[in-house]
């Protein structure tokens, strides 16, 4: 029971790191980015190549994966995404699904369709027991890293100048522009950072979630659930939503394995009917 809770929290933390970039882009520019998972996949494959082929230590591979995907996100944002912000939601959905299809086929072409594994250092494998609960070492690492990231993100968002600009832009773009905040630049940086986080999540999660070319399609729904259920107005909403989703999914798969992801979809639909703006939204529809 407690092991399920533990695994669920680790899973949820991972989902949060993967999805929080998406929640910011959605809240800030009202932009539906279904291709977010593609960046996560890019991060995962970067780590696989770096660690397995070039023998770079795992601990160094993670930050590099973050940087590469952030760079990738920044380039894509400046060259492609900027043209689509002002378009209708339908155009955005089409555009990003197109990107996902391309990413899936391209990865399949270059890396093969088989599942990839990251070589994890010996020290992180195995379990240890605390008060009778078996805890995986790797999952503990995930919880620690993701926990630190969450705290750091919250601090950046609430304490720094950049954070206040970002929040101002999320709350009201036009007024923020009027006050001299360069919303485009804020958004570019945030997008790159969010993609980087997704990449880091993908790299960390390769072990738990599995990594193959269909990754962006398989987990796109999970990211979207986190964002829609959590709401886009804060960072705590998606955080609690991810933890809830993580625990719910692990528990659902453990207790009613045959129903698979049915539980999750059912919860999502119920929440969306109950609170269309998200479970933790501050009201006021945008």
């Amino acid at each position: 029971m407690l092991t399920i809770l533990y695994d669920g929290i680790a899973y949820g933390m991972l989902l949060f790191v993967l999805a929080c970039g998406l929640s910011v882009t959605l809240g800030l520019m009202n932009f539906i980015n279904l291709a977010h998972g593609a960046f996560a996949m890019a991060g995962g494959y970067c780590t696989v190549i770096l660690v397995n082929r070039f023998g770079i230590p795992f601990a160094l591979g993670l930050p590099i994966a973050f940087l590469i995907t952030a760079l990738l996100g920044g380039i894509f944002e400046r060259t492609l995404y900027v043209h689509v912000y002002a378009r209708s939601h339908l155009d955005q959905v089409l555009f990003t699904i197109g990107l996902v299809f391309m990413a899936v086929a391209a990865v399949d072409y270059t890396m093969g369709s088989s599942q990839q594994f990251v070589q994890i250092p010996e020290a992180l494998q195995g379990q240890f027991e605390v008060a009778g609960i078996g805890m995986g070492k790797y999952r503990l690492l995930i919880i620690v890293i993701c926990g630190l990231l969450t705290v750091a993100l919250q601090l950046i968002l609430t304490k720094t100048r950049f954070g206040s600009r970002l929040r101002a832009a999320v709350d009201d773009q036009r007024v923020a522009r009027g006050l001299g905040i360069n919303v485009g630049a804020v958004f570019g940086i945030t997008f790159a950072f969010g993609s980087g986080l997704a990449g880091l999540g993908g790299a960390l999660g390769a072990e738990i979630l599995g990594l193959d070319p269909t990754f962006p399609l398989k987990y796109m729904i999970y990211f979207l659930i986190v964002v829609t259920v959590g709401g886009t107005s804060s960072i705590t909403g998606p955080f609690f939503a991810s933890i809830l989703l993580g625990i719910g999914d692990v528990a659902g798969k453990y207790y009613v394995p045959k129903l698979g992801a049915f539980v999750i979809y059912a919860i999502m639909i119920v929440v969306l009917i109950w609170r269309p703006q998200g479970l933790f939204a501050r009201g006021a529809a945008r």
């Binding site: 689509v84 339908l90 299809f101 086929a105 979809y265 999502m268």
Partner: protein, 347 residues
């Protein structure tokens, strides 16, 4: 008051008239039965896809509801028609087809209340969630649906007890084409009725539509239900003509491809889905011959290119082609008055 009503009736009547181009389109469609005898399988798939796209166009193009969950209705009706045929509940394919449509429409009616809440993103998630849930259920009850192996052992009785589904797909194709035509005529009737006009006004601005007394919610429920029914008929057709049904009828790819089909053809006019289906099937066949494994990449590229070029611009090109044809048609048949506002239909 009554003068205005007469004006509206006249307007609708004028628009609902069959243009020479439309008649030519359908004559050509039925001529394919004799023109391409070796291509029945792909033609049949195209006809089914066209009907499916037509169903999405009804809600996306006319009512402005973005949906990633049309596959839910397609799949439900597909399994329904497969099961009734397998266990011999309904032996007549046409009756089974209609029943499947009704079942899908019932699901559409129930889920429409969920879909009508919230913003675009919520709608996207709910429609997607419904189809994924059905997919999970079909997987769970594999003793009924066959699970990942698909529904096997389906025996479809001859149509009206006369026309058997043959190996070459000739009768299957004719059957699909006739069903497509009938559904198209029904959809056309819906669109060119006052009801269809009210849908357009809801899509344009639903607050103003409500202000002039249109019951927005019920209109949307109605069209969503109808669209689900059409999607269901398409799904049942697929099962009946292939005598097989597998879990991928519920997949996200099916709904996403459908959006692409409609976007290629253009939303908001009835032929969009039909033309899109033809182009899409042709593209898919052609690309799959070039690179069997990676055709998805090119499909993605087409999507990205369409959005970056801009649908409005492309609709403009299509509009230019259409007015050209209308002028041509008017010149060839000078006694028929040219249809007013032909170009604006495409928007």
């Amino acid at each position: 008051m009554s003068a205005r009503a007469d004006e509206v009736t006249l307007y609708l009547k004028r628009r609902a008239r069959w243009s020479p181009l439309e008649i030519a389109f359908w004559i050509f469609a039925f001529a394919t039965i004799w023109l391409f005898p070796g291509k029945y399988l792909i033609l049949k798939d195209t006809a089914i896809l066209a009907l499916f796209a037509l169903s999405l166009d009804l809600i996306l193009g006319y009512a402005g509801i973005i949906s990633l969950g049309q596959a839910a209705f397609f799949g439900l009706a597909g399994y329904f028609s497969g099961l009734v045929a397998k266990y011999g509940f309904i032996d007549e394919p046409v009756i089974a087809l209609i029943c499947s449509g009704v079942v899908a429409a019932a699901l559409g009616f129930v889920t429409s209340f969920l879909v009508l809440r919230g913003s675009d993103l919520t709608r996207l998630m709910v429609t997607l969630g419904v189809s994924l849930m059905l997919g999970e259920l079909a997987n769970r009850y594999s003793n009924i649906t066959g699970g990942a192996d698909g529904l096997q052992g389906v025996e479809i009785a001859p149509i009206f007890g006369l026309y058997r589904f043959d190996l070459f797909g000739h009768n299957g194709y004719v059957y699909c084409l006739i069903v497509l035509f009938i559904c198209f005529v029904i959809a056309r009737r819906i669109i060119y009725s006052p009801f269809g006009l009210s849908l357009r006004s809801i899509k344009g601005n639903n607050l103003r539509a409500a202000a002039i007394g249109i019951p927005v919610k019920w209109r949307l429920v109605a069209i969503y239900t109808a669209s689900a029914g059409f999607a269901g008929i398409a799904g049942a057709l697929l099962t009946q003509t292939t005598a097989f049904c597998s879990l991928d009828v519920f997949s996200l790819e099916r709904s996403a491809d459908l959006l692409l089909v409609l976007i290629i053809g253009g939303t908001g006019y009835l032929y969009g889905g039909l033309i899109g289906a033809v182009i899409y099937k042709f593209l898919q066949d052609w690309i799959a011959n070039l690179t069997p494994q990676y055709w998805q990449f090119w499909i993605g590229l087409v999507l990205v290119a369409i959005v970056l070029i801009g649908r409005e611009r492309m609709a403009g090109w299509i509009g230019a082609v259409r007015t050209f044809f209308h002028r041509l048609g008017a010149r060839l048949a000078p006694h028929l008055p040219a249809l007013g506002g032909a170009g604006s239909e495409g928007h």
